[in-house]
């Protein structure tokens, strides 16, 4: 009995892979959604809500599988090397556009079939609540006057928030090394160190800093985006505060291995658009303070292309790019 069902599974695997007709009735078996980050983190949570809504929509189980390690390299590699049959998809994150510049992998956004951009969280500029600076402009002036005095933290060396502040400094004509980076395992330890007096700046996203902002321990000076965040509509944008046009956001999107047949792409894009507009997704994202973003394959590709070039320039300026 066991052997037969194994045989059937194997046979259907082979058939699903070889017959183009299989694309029409996709999906006929469970889908694997690979997450390059650990269970319990923000990306994992977004993947799991997308997974459970996708399961409802397509009528097939969606297994969320965490493949962690190597700053996301392991998981992104696992998505790229899956077979392009629609049964292996994954959630790509902002690190995809960074790790190849660091020489960690040869993977770039070109190694995937982009499906949909689902979320983006812009960087903020956080300092201790009792810090003497009232605006981002004050802070930048203080950095310029005392290069090396202010330390910043919130992610690993060369991580997204490191690039956020380095890009801002470069944009303002200040040497990015004027704010030495203190590597941390994510925003929470960085914020804790900010409150404990270990560092002065944490340029993480607003939702990550939210609980400490609400507790009156941390204040945000600006957001590196077009518009203020939904959580704090009075927060100025970086452009309003300093005139700098620099913008950075951590984003998450659904991708598939390269060479996914068009009918399957269309089906997945339609499903993702439905999820993106659904009340459940909106409620989940807004209650966690995460920003919803939508971009189909075309917009997603253009978005990644620009981000890739921007990051390359900053990483070269900071001296992280190889």
């Amino acid at each position: 009995m066991r052997r037969r069902s194994l045989f059937v599974a194997a046979a259907s695997l082979v058939l699903a892979g070889s017959l183009p007709a299989a694309a029409q009735d996709y999906p006929t078996r469970p889908i694997t959604l690979i997450v390059p980050w650990a269970a319990g983190g923000g990306t994992d949570a977004v993947a799991r809500i997308i997974g459970s809504l996708l399961e409802k929509d397509l009528g097939q189980p969606v297994n969320v599988v965490n493949r962690t390690g190597g700053n996301g390299v392991v998981g992104h590699q696992a998505i790229a090397s899956g077979s392009p049959d629609g049964y292996t998809i994954g959630i790509a994150t902002v690190e995809l556009n960074m790790m190849h510049w660091q020489g960690l992998t040869n993977l770039t956004y070109k190694d995937y079939t982009p499906i949909a951009l689902m979320n983006a969280d812009p960087a903020g500029l956080q300092v201790r609540a009792d810090a003497p600076y009232k605006t981002a402009k004050d802070l930048l002036a203080a950095i310029k006057a005392n290069p090396g005095k202010f330390k910043a933290s919130g992610t690993g060396q060369g991580g997204i928030w490191h690039l956020a502040i380095a890009g801002l400094l470069k944009d303002q004509g200040i040497d990015p090394a004027a704010v030495p980076w203190v590597p941390s395992n994510g925003a929470a330890p960085g914020l804790q160190d900010l409150v404990a007096g270990g560092v002065e700046i944490v340029p993480c996203s607003i939702p990550e800093a939210r609980s400490l902002i609400d507790a009156g321990k941390v204040k945000s000076l600006a957001i590196m985006a077009d518009k203020p965040p939904a959580l704090y509509p009075n927060l100025p944008t970086l452009e309003q505060a300093t005139g700098s046009k620099w913008k950075t956001a951590a984003w998450r999107g659904i991708v598939a291995p390269k060479g996914l047949p068009q009918p399957i792409v269309d089906k997945l894009v339609a499903a993702m658009e439905k999820i993106n507009k659904s009340a459940e997704y909106k409620e989940f994202m807004s209650s966690r303070g995460l920003g919803i973003e939508w971009g189909g394959p075309k917009e997603f590709t253009a978005f990644m292309e620009k981000a890739d070039a921007d990051f390359g320039a900053v990483m070269k300026a900071v001296g992280i790019a190889k």
């Binding site: 269970a39 319990g40 983190g41 923000g42 994992d44 949570a45 799991r48 809500i49 997974g51 459970s52 969320v64 599988v65 965490n66 493949r67 962690t68 390690g69 190597g70 700053n71 390299v73 392991v74 590699q77 660091q102 960690l104 992998t105 090396g148 330390k151 933290s153 690993g156 060396q157 060369g158 991580g159 030495p180 980076w181 203190v182 590597p183 941390s184 395992n185 929470a188 330890p189 914020l191 804790q192 160190d193 409150v195 404990a196 007096g197 270990g198 560092v199 939210r210 609980s211 400490l212 609400d214 507790a215 009156g216 321990k217 989940f284 209650s287 966690r288 303070g289 992280i320």
Partner: protein, 498 residues
């Protein structure tokens, strides 16, 4: 008062009680399976809790994690496979008791003192959360550096034979911890171009290998090693626990208190609490020579400590939204999702929900007794299985557990390599527990040392500039210097009459 009554009403609702029972069973299963951790149990619950009201959602998480941390003791005690890293500190002690035919006592102590530790931690959470969270938030990398140094010292205290051998295996663990990309500089080390090695060596598969696979190898290699049969394991698991609680009341209190404090620190969780409690227990014991031979004292203290830490971790999570461990990191997301935004005002804005959480903590630690009793009763049947069938079964479970960690064969390879390492180390009289300690603390040691130096622009004196750091630093240096000074004094005394 109304809020408290309302909280009782929401918790003692049939639906919530059903959720508690189901998640207890789930937590026990996950904790008892090697390779599945309490953190993973919580992460898998998140999509389910998404469709639940706040109180049942939190009920599921609170009970599942409390059960999982206790249940990690079961396979550790019966088969020498620590179910979670929090059980690794005292797994050898518990297994030694099982080999003496005292599995009942070891497991009973595990469940009873886990419950006591959990309740102690909850009382602290209820009464002192805001004040303790303020203190915990003052810990920067300077303080953590000294705390980690103290933790490393445990390797020497827990080693039964020569401390030197303990230090050597500790350094093996510290070396393994340097592999991979996750270091402060973000530089790949010892990866040889392999994407798997970039992610470093996971503690879980290494731990399964060191303990369980090494044990399987030893049983296969030496025919005379025997497991106690189920017939020898008799009596109620609760018999004699009251006497233990009276005899070791200081240890229980010390373990619960240190566990709660360590749990409340955002950088340290249940596993480190268990190690420090076990080492403290031995250091201050009246009969330290009995440790490692099947002596219950250390299990009492560290069993209480790791469950107290689970409650303690909620302190900074509820008050400031700063996770106390990897479990509460997930919980914070769920709290936001349910509109219970963490912050000092959570106690004012949502008193019913917070009281409900407190009641849930008490409840889950109390029902740990009957559920634990059931789990132990069914799990110990495994000792009836003949050895030639049991060993392949253990091997199979180990492989599944190591695979499940990251869904890749890499974990299985790590497990096998560490199995061989553990076997050879133990055959030559080297303790293996310090390897795990080194692997857990190694990354924290490096991270806190390097980031401290970046912050102080390379000034070493900064490690003594902040008051808490200076205090911890002096304690650490004293602990290190004492044995050396004592040895010197002894030598001088021996020299002078001659």
């Amino acid at each position: 008062m109304d809020a408290l009554l309302a909280a009782f009403a929401t918790v003692f609702d049939p639906y919530v009680l059903l959720i508690i029972c189901l998640s207890s069973a789930y937590g026990l299963f996950v904790g008892a399976m090697p390779g599945l951790t309490a953190t993973m149990a919580t992460a898998l619950l998140v999509p389910i809790t998404f469709f639940m009201p706040p109180v049942p959602a939190l009920a599921a998480i609170v009970t599942a994690t409390a059960m999982a941390i206790f249940a990690g003791d079961i396979p550790g005690c019966l088969l020498r496979i620590p179910g979670t890293p929090a059980s690794a500190a005292y797994v050898d002690e518990a297994y030694a008791l099982t080999r003496k035919g005292k599995a009942e006592q070891a497991l009973g102590a595990g469940v009873v003192f886990s419950a006591i530790g959990g309740i102690f931690g909850t009382i602290v959470l209820v009464t002192a959360a805001p004040a303790l969270a303020e203190i915990a938030l003052q810990f920067s990398s300077f303080e953590y550096f000294w705390l980690v140094c103290l933790g490393l010292t445990c390797a020497v205290f827990i080693t039964t034979e020569s401390p030197l051998k303990g230090i050597i295996t500790l350094f093996i663990g510290l070396f393994v911890a340097t592999i991979g990309l996750d270091n402060p500089a973000g530089q790949p080390r010892f990866t040889f171009g392999s994407a798997d090695l970039l992610s470093g060596v996971d503690v879980i598969p290494a731990m399964i290998g060191l303990f369980a696979i090494a044990e399987v190898l030893r049983v296969v290699a030496a025919a005379e090693v025997r497991l106690p049969s189920a017939a020898e394991v008799k009596g109620s698991i609760f018999r004699g626990q009251w006497e233990l609680a009276k005899k070791y009341r200081v240890q229980v209190l010390r373990g619960s208190a240190s566990g709660t404090l360590i749990g409340a620190l955002p950088g340290a969780g249940a596993d480190i609490a268990a190690w420090i409690a076990y080492a403290m227990s031995k250091r201050f014991s009246k009969e330290p020579q009995k440790f490692g031979t099947g002596h219950i004292e250390g299990i009492v203290e560290s069993g209480a400590a790791n469950n107290a830490a689970v409650s303690g971790a909620w302190i900074p999570a509820l008050v400031f939204g700063i996770p106390g461990d990897s479990i509460t990191a997930i919980v914070i997301g769920v709290l936001y999702l349910k509109g219970l935004n963490p912050g000092p005002t959570i106690f004012i804005n949502n008193p019913e929900s917070i009281y409900a959480v407190f009641i849930l903590f008490f409840l889950s630690n109390i029902i740990m007794l009957p559920f634990g009793w059931l789990a132990i009763k069914s799990a110990k049947q495994i000792l009836r299985v003949p050895r030639n069938i049991l060993m392949p079964l253990i091997l199979m479970f180990c492989i599944v557990g190591a695979f499940a960690m990251n869904n890749s064969l890499y974990g299985v390879t790590v497990m096998l390599v560490f199995g061989l390492l553990g076997f050879f180390l133990e055959e030559n009289g080297f303790p293996i527990a310090p390897v795990i300690l080194g692997m857990i603390l190694g990354p924290m040691l490096e991270q806190n040392f390097i980031t401290s130096l970046i912050k102080s622009d390379g000034d070493m004196l900064a490690f003594f500039e902040r008051p808490i750091a200076a205090g911890l630093g002096i304690v650490t240096l004293l602990v290190w210097a004492t044995p050396i000074v004592l040895a010197l004094l002894r030598r001088r005394r021996r020299m002078s009459p001659a």
